[in-house]
Structures are given as structure tokens and as C-alpha cells.
């Protein structure tokens, strides 16, 4: 039963990732300003990363240090990418 619940959770992760990817493409092509585009798309990227890290890589069951390290990577990348696009 636990395995079935986990497989349903994985399906939920996949649906969330597909919808988020559609959102990424939509905001990439329809955003009215660069600031809005960058902020929304980077937030979606961090959300998708979280779904992969906790859902697919199963870090929800790991210690907080590992989660901090793994969540830190997409957050750092999003901040750097966002900063380089919005500070000139």
C-alpha cells in the first residue's frame, strides 16, 4: 500500500512538472516585462527543482543538511541568473 501511495505521489510530481514546464514556456513567450519574466520563470525553475529533489530523488526522507545542499543549488543558480539579467 505504501508503494502504491508512493507511485501515486510520483504521478503527482510528474503532472506538476509538466504543468510547470508549460508555465515556463508561456511566461517565456508572453511576459510583458523582463523583470516579471525572469522572476516568474526562475521561481518556477526552483519549484520544479524542488519536485525533482524531494519527489524523484526522495530527499524528503533525508536529513536537513542534504536537503539544504541540494535545494541550495537551484536557488543559487536562479539568483545568479536573475541578477545577471536584471542588473544591467
Amino acid at each position: 500500500m505504501n508503494n502504491l501511495k508512493h507511485e501515486i505521489a510520483l504521478l503527482g510530481c510528474w503532472i506538476a512538472l509538466m504543468l510547470a514546464t508549460m508555465g515556463t514556456v508561456y511566461w517565456g513567450t508572453h511576459a510583458t516585462s523582463l523583470t516579471l519574466q525572469v522572476m516568474v520563470i526562475m521561481l518556477i525553475a526552483v519549484f520544479k527543482s524542488g519536485v525533482i529533489i524531494d519527489g524523484f530523488m526522495e530527499l524528503w526522507s533525508a536529513g536537513s543538511k542534504w536537503r539544504l545542499i541540494m535545494y541550495g543549488w537551484p536557488v543559487l543558480m536562479a539568483v545568479v541568473v536573475g541578477a545577471t539579467l536584471l542588473t544591467k
Binding site: 508503494n3 508549460m22 517565456g28 519574466q37 533525508a62 543549488w73 537551484p74
Partner: protein
């Protein structure tokens, strides 16, 4: 000697790592390498925003979406395969890994077509700074995808041979973790290269 967590993480308490600790350290090393490419792309874009906007206009975001869908679907199916191994259904896992490879091939085929198209119209590695960084960054990721597909294929064969089961699933968990790392990196590279700016 394995450095893995000992129990099924989906049934385990907190503090457990899926797969082998060595794979997690390898993943951190890989993320560090990808960081350099992403930083290089981002800071060069900061210096030459117009050039990057022009270059990005030559790319098809719908192709990028399809490649992303292929990779993420493959990651989902590979995660299901791990669950089947934990349930001691190794043959089902092998079929799922085959499906994961097929879905991953969507990315490979689309990427090869994109590379061929760009090369045919002259947007090669030396065309300008945007395309130099586009080719280097995406090709580095592409090579990881190819290696990941080989890993999934090996895992599938080992599942068929009865190598993995309910009490021996660390290997398949570790291999699939590598595949998820490739997804994770693409989640950042895709908007950076195809959409932003």
C-alpha cells in the same frame, strides 16, 4: 563496500538517503561542473545582452519544451522502475527502464535535429559568443544524457538478469539518481538558454 542507506526510503523514517552515498557525492561534483557553465553563460549574457537576445531568437522554445517533457517523463518512469524493484518486480522494472530510455530518446532526437539545423544555417560553435556558449553548455549536458541512457540500459539488463530485488536495490537507486540529476540541471539550463532575456 556499499556506503548506502540500508532500507527502502519510501518506507523509511527521516535521515535516510536513497541510493549510495558515493553517488550523492558524485552528483555534487557534477552540479559544481554545471555551475561553471551556467555562470559562464549568465555573466557573458550580462556583458552582451543584445547578442544573446538575437541568438536566442534563432532557437525554437517549443522544441525546448518537448525536450524537457521527454526528460521529465523519463525521470518519472525511471522513478517508477525503482519502486517496482523494491516490490521485487525486477522484470516490470526492466520494462519501465526501457520506456524511460525511449522517452529520453525524444530529447536526444530533438537535440540532434536542432544541432543539425543550426549547423546547416551557419550557427556553429564559432559563429558568435552566444552560439559558442550554447554549443558548449548544451553539448556538455547532451553527453550526460547519453551516458545516463547507457546507465539506464545497463540497469535494465541487470534487472532482467535478476541482479536487483527487494533486498538489493541500492544500485538501481543510484543509477536512477544520476538520471534525475540530469533532469535537475536541465530545469535551469532550459529557461536560461531558450527563454530568458
Amino acid at each position: 563496500m556499499s556506503t548506502s542507506a540500508k532500507t527502502n526510503p519510501s518506507a523509511a523514517g527521516r535521515g535516510r538517503l536513497t541510493g549510495d552515498l558515493a553517488m550523492w557525492i558524485f552528483i555534487l561534483a557534477e552540479l559544481t561542473a554545471f555551475t561553471l557553465f551556467i555562470l559562464g553563460f549568465s555573466f557573458t549574457q550580462w556583458l552582451k545582452p543584445e547578442l544573446f537576445a538575437e541568438g536566442r531568437a534563432q532557437l525554437d522554445s517549443s522544441t525546448g519544451w518537448a525536450m524537457t517533457a521527454g526528460l521529465l517523463t523519463s525521470g518519472f518512469i525511471a522513478a517508477l522502475a525503482v519502486e517496482r524493484v523494491r516490490k521485487d518486480h525486477a522484470r516490470q522494472a526492466a520494462l519501465l527502464l526501457l520506456a524511460a530510455i525511449a522517452s529520453g530518446m525524444v530529447y536526444v532526437v530533438l537535440k540532434v535535429k536542432e544541432y543539425a539545423h543550426l549547423a546547416s544555417i551557419g550557427f556553429d560553435l564559432e559563429y558568435n559568443t552566444f552560439f559558442t556558449l550554447y554549443w558548449i553548455t548544451t553539448a556538455f549536458h547532451f553527453l550526460h544524457v547519453l551516458l545516463g541512457l547507457v546507465v539506464l540500459a545497463i540497469l535494465g539488463v541487470l534487472c532482467l538478469r535478476g541482479h536487483f530485488g527487494a533486498h538489493n536495490h541500492t544500485g538501481v537507486e543510484s543509477g536512477v539518481l544520476y538520471w534525475h540529476m540530469i533532469d535537475l540541471v536541465w530545469v535551469i539550463i532550459f529557461p536560461l538558454v531558450y527563454l530568458l532575456g
